[in-house]
């Protein structure tokens, strides 16, 4: 550790006031604090000891909780690929390696571009590089289809960081979830690369290989929206996630492992996660009563394990900055996300995956919910004063 420290101390004067590279201090500071938790001590007044947690730890734990989704996604990309080509004897390792080769470039582009933008903004606006992108950089690849061109990943990331976050003042100030901003941008700007039947499974063939007859790369929700109820995989298969879809979203199981980590460590809000599932369950049950089309007939549990529902509930809805801030509000916010997601799924055949839009819509509504929750508290106080 000492050599690192010495090196940092040696180059530090260049970045401090009056140094040659003064402008780049935020970049230097980001690296320094990345390597070393600074020796800053509590002020002479106030709490002299502090909890060991900081935003870096919080964010890295969210990244850790995303790892099951990432690993499963890699395997599933390979599995779906070999299945489409009719290669039955592809081993677990084959699947995983194929997936890793496809997925890692997307992850790398997302992080490289996103952090590049973050550093640029930090230097221009002279603020510190914020940790928020550690998570966003991992979320973006996981909610994209595997066949997305890398340049689109780059543009979407830039759009998400600049328009989704920095224009509002950086992490903690944004209104919309940055990762979903990236996805919604791609969805409306390049719909052919974000929906349909051709993007979810990689069907690139090498010499001597060919896609099997009658293969469809549609997601289960796509099939359901088209009324192919017989093509929808079973609940168990959907729960484990062996279905086509965005890279990291298919496995409800992996999402639940992530949820367990988030809730146990106290980082993620169980209130939101729980109420999203409850909201979705309630809405799907109501639709079951009518059962007018395939999606309405789908059982509630099945709804919850298909598509991006579980992933959105665990990793997107819980983003503390864009969610409601009050505990009461969190129940309402989560419930409405679940409700709207299923509602959009069923009533919007053009876009069977409603989770993204439901969360973004509720991101916008979150301050309103909080407003009413806080107003209720104010009214309680006023009422008490009169008695």
């Amino acid at each position: 550790m000492k050599p690192f420290r010495n090196l940092l101390e040696k180059i530090k004067p260049n970045f401090e006031k009056g140094g040659k590279l003064e402008k780049f201090y935020p970049a230097y500071n980001a690296f320094e604090t990345f390597l070393f938790v600074p020796g800053h001590t509590a002020p002479a007044n106030g709490a002299h000891v502090r909890d060991a947690i900081d935003l870096k730890r919080t964010m890295i734990l969210v990244v850790v909780s995303l790892i099951p989704c990432l690993l499963f996604g890699m395997w599933n990309v390979g599995y779906q690929h070999y299945r489409a080509l009719g290669i039955a004897d592809a081993s677990f390792i084959d699947n995983f390696i194929f997936g890793a080769i496809k997925v890692m470039p997307i992850v790398i582009v997302s992080y490289a571009v996103g952090l590049g933008v973050e550093f640029t903004f930090a230097i221009i606006r002279k603020h510190q590089v914020n940790e928020g992108f550690l998570v966003t950089g991992m979320l973006i690849p996981l909610i994209l289809p595997v066949d997305i061109p890398l340049w689109m990943v780059a543009i979407a990331t830039i759009f998400a960081v600049v328009i989704g976050k920095e224009v509002f003042g950086g992490t903690g100030m944004n209104i919309l979830n940055p990762a979903l901003t990236a996805r919604v941008f791609l969805f409306f700007a390049y719909p052919t690369k974000m929906s349909g039947t051709d993007v979810w499974v990689n069907t690139q063939v090498q010499k001597g290989q060919q896609v099997v007859d009658g293969f469809s790369g549609a997601t289960p929700l796509g099939d359901a929206a088209s009324g192919f109820s017989d093509k929808i995989p079973g609940v168990w298969q959907s729960f484990v996630g062996i279905i086509p879809g965005s890279i990291g979203e298919t496995s409800a199981l992996a999402c639940l492992i992530g949820a367990a980590i988030l809730i146990y460590t106290g980082i993620g809000s169980w209130r939101i996660i729980l109420s999203v599932f409850v909201g979705g369950f309630v809405m799907a049950t109501i639709f079951n009563l009518f059962g007018l089309n395939t999606l309405m007939q789908l059982s509630p549990i099945h709804h919850l394990v298909l598509g991006g529902f579980a992933f959105g509930a665990v990793f997107m809805a819980t983003d503390p900055v864009t969610a409601t801030q009050t505990n009461t509000g969190k129940y309402m916010y989560g419930f409405l996300i679940g409700l709207l997601a299923i509602l959009l799924r069923v009533f919007n055949p053009a876009y069977p995956e409603g989770m993204m839009l439901a969360i973004l819509f509720m991101n916008v509504m979150a301050p309103l919910i909080d407003h009413y929750v806080v107003q209720a508290n104010i009214r309680r106080r006023l009422k008490r004063a009169k008695i």
């Binding site: 106030g46 000891v49 502090r50 060991a52 947690i53 935003l55 928020g132 992490t171």
Partner: protein
């Protein structure tokens, strides 16, 4: 009749260095200092000059804003130094203490036989009044006002806090007299709040003429602000007075013995004290002898007058703050830590389970003063609420202060809180936001607005 209030939200920070249950009687400190900045909102007007001889009970200065409120010397001796800061602001009045204290004589009377006005006069004249403070704002009570109730928290839940059961035991009689006097000050009740597990002393549990309320739960259950919130919440325009148990004893001594005797027992605590235990000293006493007797461990230490959550850093030749009954010594944490945010963190304390220290829930921690991160905007939500057992939205209140919206502060409950109520929020904050400082600014804004 007894109320039982069960608090769930909060956090006990388990620190190493609890004081041993023995009291060491040291000779009176050589010097004593009264620091006007211990009294929020007081503009001091000096009554003595360097070289003056004073007795215990001789006024040193009074409050320009409220001339009846006098601040008296707790010892007899010579005013050796008057320390002023920028713009001649009065910082400290230091007194070289006599070996034997001589006291100004006040009347020895039974407060039960006195009128409210007579009691207030007696307390004001003797310099005991500053021990009575009020909510809102946590300032010294205004003797012209009548509080709707008086609150005494018989237990302290702060980290390593002194045990009032142990301290008050020998002063039971004075404590009772003090209670008698306080009962005359309000038309409402005097609430004596005890802890379900921590309080067993008969003086508290068997106190007469007062309302006894039992609390259970972790810190901040012992904070009087939390107790007021749950029993007799302060609304706009209302005032509640509060007194610390040892200060009730000081009031009692005034009536029993006719003296301003502000001697007290304090706890020397903290992981960097060799022999943490209790000491007798006096309000504003120099801490030099206590530190020397208790012994400090090697290394860079931070000496705090008060506890680790709300205290003030003082130097080794400094003085105890006026209201404090505790000295805490912990190591400074100014060493950068390699990849500290990535390590398992078995010895790191966190309310979250984000470090693997959750494997050892009963461990006592040797925490240093490191911030463990840099300040950030509010990001994580719902964490303050876990340690804030009041029906108030802490983050929303802090934000209303940041935008200086006084009306909103009022609506969100600024009158019910003081800095110490946000100490745990500050402790657990992921974004390392100085919430106690923000609350102080908010209280000051509202106080100035009200004139």
């Amino acid at each position: 009749m007894s109320n039982y209030i069960k608090l769930k939200r909060g956090l006990n920070i388990k620190l190493a260095g609890e004081a041993d249950k023995t009291i060491s009687t040291l000779p009176l400190p050589e010097t004593v200092a009264i620091k006007p900045h211990n009294f929020i909102g007081v503009t001091p007007k000096l009554l003595v000059k360097q070289g003056d001889e004073v007795q215990a009970g001789t006024p040193l200065f009074y409050d320009k804003g409220n001339e009846a409120v006098k601040f008296c010397s707790p010892v007899s001796g010579e005013v050796i130094e008057i320390i002023r800061g920028e713009k001649r602001k009065l910082l400290e009045v230091r007194i070289l203490a006599d070996k034997e204290t001589t006291y100004v004589d006040f009347d020895r009377v039974n407060p039960a036989n006195l009128t409210r006005d007579a009691i207030i006069q007696a307390i004001l004249n003797s310099g005991v009044w500053p021990f009575i403070r009020q909510r809102p704002f946590g300032i010294i009570a205004n003797p012209r006002e009548k509080p709707k109730s008086v609150f005494i928290s018989a237990f302290d839940t702060n980290p390593l806090a002194p045990d009032n059961d142990f301290i008050i035991e020998q002063d039971g009689e004075d404590f009772e007299t003090g209670l008698d006097a306080l009962q005359k000050l309000t038309d409402g009740k005097v609430h004596l709040n005890i802890h379900a597990d921590k309080t067993a002393l008969k003086v508290f549990t068997g106190a007469k003429g007062v309302q006894i309320n039992t609390f259970s739960g972790p810190h901040p259950a012992g904070n009087v602000g939390v107790q007021i919130h749950h029993i007799d919440a302060v609304n706009k325009g209302e005032v509640v007075w509060c007194v610390y148990p040892q200060d009730v004893v000081v009031i009692g001594r005034l009536f029993n013995k006719g003296r301003f005797n502000a001697s007290r027992v304090i706890a020397l605590t903290g992981s960097h004290v060799e022999k943490p235990k209790y000491y007798t000293t006096i309000v504003g006493g120099a801490i030099k002898n206590i530190i020397a007797d208790g012994g400090l461990k090697n290394g860079k230490n931070r000496i705090i007058s008060g506890n680790v959550l709300t205290g003030k850093q003082i130097s080794a030749d400094g003085y105890l703050d006026f209201y404090d009954t505790q000295i805490t010594v912990i190591p400074e944490g100014d060493e950068p830590e390699f990849m500290g945010w990535l390590m398992p963190g078995l010895s790191k304390f966190s309310i979250s389970r984000s470090f693997f220290s959750w494997l050892t829930p009963n461990k006592k921690y040797d925490l240093n003063t490191n911030l463990h991160g840099e300040e950030r905007p509010f990001v994580v939500t719902g964490e303050y609420e876990k340690v804030f057992p009041m029906d108030i939205y802490p983050v929303q209140l802090l934000k209303s202060i940041l935008v200086e919206d006084i009306e909103l502060m009022e609506k969100l409950g600024i009158y019910e809180v003081v800095e110490e109520d946000f100490a745990l929020c500050e402790f657990i904050c992921t974004s390392k936001i100085e919430s106690q400082d923000i609350i102080q600014r908010g209280l000051e804004l509202v106080r100035k607005e009200m004139g």
